[in-house]
Amino acid sequence: QQPVQSPQAVILREGEDAVINCSSSKALYSVHWYRQKHGEAPVFLMILLKGGEQKGHEKISASFNEKKQQSSLYLTASQLSYSGTYFCGISNAGGTSYGKLTFGQGTILTVHP
């Protein structure tokens, strides 16, 4: 089942923060986050695994809440380069899932000067 991302779109000024949520109706094994610029391929940001992990990548970090079956992506002090569509991809089973991810519908992030 497709995870639900919220919000669907967000507009920021440079330097502002944003949070993007990804919720699953089933237990999560892992969550991947990707960013896609218009007309380009998605680019991998990070993976979070079952265990309530939090990861950071410069000013972009993410958390994994196993109980809530949810992951959140945090963008702090946003830059113009952060603009794009953010997707979460979830795996509900490890091991033999062969990397099959079910992606959310995406969150469009626009950062203005």
Binding site: Q2, H32, L49, G89, G95, Y98, G99, K100, L101, F103
Partner: protein, 113 residues
């Protein structure tokens, strides 16, 4: 380093015509390979994945087929295109270890007229 090549970048085809999209990966061996489709403004839908030569799994019933004639080559085909086949097709690869990230090609924008 690993690279993924996908072609053509854009394609306009009439309804009922055949289709062949090709994807090759360099710099790695025995990758997992995937075909995703992205409708305009939508998320990514997994169409096919392959864990080895000649091994293809289909995720959704459709008008398309996939083949993996060589370890690092993945082909998406159709005998007769439908209007609904229009979209952005993305090939991706991942290492055959659990929770490896997906690395996408630049995509093919297919318009069926």
């Amino acid at each position: 380093s690993q690279t993924i090549h996908q072609w053509p970048a854009t394609l306009v085809q009439p309804v009922g015509s055949p289709l062949s999209l090709e994807c090759t990966v360099e710099g790695t061996s025995n990758p997992n390979l995937y075909w995703y489709r992205q409708a305009a403004g939508r998320g990514l839908q997994l169409l096919f994945y392959s864990v080895g030569i000649g091994q293809i799994s289909s995720e959704v019933p459709q008008n398309l087929s996939a083949s993996r004639p060589q370890d690092r080559q993945f082909i998406l085909s159709s005998k007769k295109l439908l209007l609904s086949d229009s979209g952005f097709y993305l090939c991706a690869w991942a290492r055959t270890v659990m929770d490896s990230p997906l690395h996408f090609g630049n995509g093919t924008r297919l318009t069926v007229t």
